[in-house]
């Protein structure tokens, strides 16, 4: 039995549609996650900056707001990953586990560097410490992003953006300005990254469908 042109085209279209449906069901929605983390940093670092700018010397509400927002961001990320990847085993799940282990490592490295910073400067304002710790965290998260998204252009650009913002936050002289750079820079990287990721995903989808008739 041989194919007719129509039956061959029909099979190609079926393959294209099933491939597209599979990607839509199993790929974590990158634009959503970037937007959520953009909101996390905008609100969390925003509260931190208000503390630094108008507070009485010791940040209080800022770190708490940041912690609450970050916990919310982590919850949304975990739910999205579970929704998309449940029932999967093998390579993808190993990658996700590695990414989480690397993230834990980033937290440990961050804690160690902040400790070294505190020990090396016995006389220091807590505002300066908070700002430095925030900038350092952004720099390390950026490096983590670059590593875990190797080979995926969009993610690497977000990572490099965060590294730049973190580095800038470390060199800007006053805590107030440094926190402003970290707050606006980090939020901008994620909030600009979200629509860009949406455009990239739409282009990839079009290319996928076009390649199968």
């Amino acid at each position: 039995m041989n194919h007719s042109r129509d039956s061959a085209l029909e099979e190609l279209q079926r393959i294209g549609m099933v491939t597209d449906r599979t990607y839509r069901l199993v790929e974590p929605r990158q634009p959503l996650l970037l937007a959520v983390w953009g909101a996390v940093y905008f609100l969390g670092f925003g509260a931190f900056w208000v503390d630094v700018r108008f507070g009485e010397g010791t940040p209080t509400a800022g770190p708490i707001a940041l912690f609450v927002c970050a916990a919310g961001g982590l919850l949304v990320t975990a739910l999205e990953l579970h929704k998309r990847l449940h029932g999967f085993g093998g390579g993808t799940m190993r990658q996700v586990r590695r990414a989480f282990v690397a993230w834990g490592l980033v937290v440990v490295i961050w804690g160690a560097l902040v400790t070294v910073y505190v020990v090396s400067r016995p006389v220091m304002e807590s505002v300066a410490l908070g700002t430095t710790a925030a900038a350092l965290a952004v720099l390390l998260i950026g490096a983590w992003y670059v590593i875990v998204t190797t080979g995926r252009g969009g993610g690497t650009i977000v990572g490099l953006g965060l590294v730049s913002v973190g580095a800038a936050g470390l060199v800007v002289p006053t805590p107030e300005n440094a926190m402003l750079v970290v707050w606006l820079g980090t939020s901008a990287v994620f909030l600009v990254g979200a629509p860009c990721a949406r455009v990239l995903a739409a282009r990839e989808r079009e290319a996928r469908l076009a390649s199968n008739g």
Partner: protein, 114 residues
Amino acid sequence: MAELEVNEILHAPARLNIMAALNAIGDEDKVSYTRLREIVDLTPGNLTSHLRKLESSGYVAQTKRFVKRVPVTEIRMTRKGRREFEAYVEALRTFVRQVGGSVAAADETKRSGT
């Protein structure tokens, strides 16, 4: 005129759907039976019978394991399955290009009345 023989294993729409879905998933990935059913939208009876056919042809492999004492069947595409599927898709594309070209040429001939 170009010809392309039908691959009897992949020609069935349900089996083609299963293979396309497994091909879209990563090389080293396994997917549970229930998740695959959700992706390809088949009834349990249909999915089981088509998986059996694909497994007997060496296109997919099924393994069973227990997660918290609940049996879970995991399915993955074998290397042979991926190779055959990719070759089949490539053959379909080439065929459509060739036949598309010859149909267009025939139409052009008819129109010019030669």
